[in-house]
Amino acid sequence: MGTLWKIALRNTVRHKRRTIITAVVMMAGISVFILFDSMLAGMDRMAVDNMADYTTSSLKLRTPAYVDDIAATPLDKPLPDTAGALAILGERRIAAAPRIRFVASVSNYNDEIPVLADAVDPAADAKVFKLSSSVVSGAWLSPSTPKTVVMGYLLAKELGLKVGDTVLISAQTVNDVTNADEYAIAGLVDTPAPEVNSSGLYMPLSDARALLVTPDMPGGFATEIDASLPRVSSLKAAITEGEAEAQALGKALPVLRADPIGYLARDYLSVRTAKAQYSFILIVVVLVIAAVGIVNTILMSVYSRIREIGVLRAYGMTRGDISRLFTLEGLILGFIGSILGVALGALFDLFMVVKGISITAFAGSMGSLPLSGVIHGEWNPGTMITGFLFGVVVSLIAALVPARKAAKLEPTSALRFQ
């Protein structure tokens, strides 16, 4: 076997041009796969982080009945003891804020737009969400300025409103009758979450309780508590740790349902699975091209060494030995291409992790995905190992065809070959 390796390795080195071309194709395929995976992981991370920061939070506490009826945004299934739940979260050192989510209608007295409004505790909410730091005009809500609202800048634009203007907000009360009141616009927010910009409406809990005519509850009327869990190194870890925390809270607060980010972002994450399949299809396509290159390279090697095959057969090498010789050449090519691919992919990854790329220019084409700013990649050793192994296995399979062809040559025909 040592001599077969020696002959295979030296032939790979001897035919530099063929080796370089084949290795470069493989390198391109594997490195692009690693880069795409890193970018997709970064996009996922950014999207899920933005959802946690601007829309869903990283963990929600609601009553099971509320979640079962969530499409109706019911006000008759509130938290039974908001203060008690907040106290338990406080004991676990988890930042949390109560909210009331309700269906409202925003009017500039000419036009009205239906929205899903959120009533928030301005100070506590700022510890869970980043809305307060996304104010681009005016200011975030304050207990000292009642009857004010903050809205998404696109919603204000559509209604022709600005900070300081008055809007009429109407909503169904807890008793299922319509109530309305006027509020001054305290500020406008511009966030990476498109839905917040186009339909986000926020008002203090005290104003919302008055508007919705809510009953007195321990700790105040709220339909949910949003919590912020500490950031961890990867999305996978965030999902795992979120699930663990939700389970622990579920035991501590058995009357409530704790939903972690993995559940809250489930629609996005299912789209992500489809994206991962696209990236795998990409590597398959590129490596199939590389495989054709390897078949061609080894076939050229077979044709240029037919007499050599004849000599080796004449000296007693079996068909199996000849097949192994050319399979080894394919394996060496695949190994070189895969190593270079992983090395280049790691460099791309390094750039993505350290510098990242700005997607602000593409923000318009991102649709409803909560993405903007600079995407940073994520290291994924598993992807590098997958890319490497896939490259080697594809090379091995690609080399089998010409290797078999070489093994089938009759020694007498091979020795006669000119």
């Binding site: 040592g2 002959i7 001897r14 000296y315 007693g316 020694p411 007498t412």
Partner: protein, 228 residues
């Protein structure tokens, strides 16, 4: 002692509906230690006979007994094993492996044979390289050698495993007359000193002059067998 015995050996090649009778019933005994030349015009069956003697091809009919063993029953793997253990070749175009050094080329038959330790393989190949007059050139590659030197390496490669017989297909055809004479003398010397059996096909008058026995073949039949 008879090393190779051929009895009524025929070889028929089929191409579509037509048949080409390359050998028409050859009877031949080759003694151990002979220095034998097969001569004949082009297309007479010399190469086919050498291929059959070398177990590279099987006869259509007839018996082959090598060193007391009937080879007819051996299959593909058996013939490979027989070639590996008992037969060596010297080719007209040397056919050295270009990516292996002189020493590695000479070691190749022993490596394929897998009977000796690495140290013994190296020792025997270095000894053989010295025997063909190429001591000091062990680490050269074939492209760094002259045609005559390449053929010497090919002879060393053929002899290193101490075969029953060395078969050579026009070994001097690509060499100038001076180098050809050197190569013939080298093979003759090894034949005398080591008792190795050599069988050549050739058109070279010089080789015929050195041969101890000349077998003439024409239209696939042995038409002459002259011993000197």
């Amino acid at each position: 002692m008879t090393a190779l015995h051929l009895e009524k050996v025929t070889k028929v090649y089929r191409k579509g509906d037509s048949e080409v009778r390359a050998l028409g019933g050859v009877d031949l005994d080759i003694e151990a230690g002979e220095f034998l030349t097969i001569v004949g015009p082009s297309g007479s069956g010399k190469t086919t006979l050498l291929n059959i003697l070398g177990c590279l091809d099987s006869p259509t009919e007839g018996r082959m007994i090598y060193d007391g063993q009937e080879l007819r029953s051996l299959g593909e793997k058996g013939l490979s094993a027989y070639r590996r253990d008992r037969i060596s070749f010297v080719f007209q175009s040397y056919n050295l492996i270009p990516v292996l050094t002189v020493r590695e080329n000479v070691e190749l038959p022993l490596v394929i044979e897998r009977k000796l330790s690495n140290a013994d393989i190296r020792a025997r190949s270095v000894e053989m390289i010295a025997a063909v007059g190429l001591a000091g050139k062990e680490n050269r590659y074939p492209r760094e050698l002259s045609g005559g030197q390449e053929q010497r390496v090919a002879i060393a490669r053929a002899l290193v495993k101490r075969p029953l017989v060395v078969l050579a297909d026009e070994p001097s055809a690509n060499l100038d007359s001076h180098t050809a004479e050197e190569i013939i003398e080298l093979m003759r010397k090894i034949n005398v000193e080591r008792g190795t059996t050599f069988v050549f096909s050739t058109h070279d008058r010089l080789m015929m002059e050195h041969a101890a026995r000349i077998v003439t073949i024409r239209d696939g039949l042995v038409t002459g067998d002259e011993r000197k």
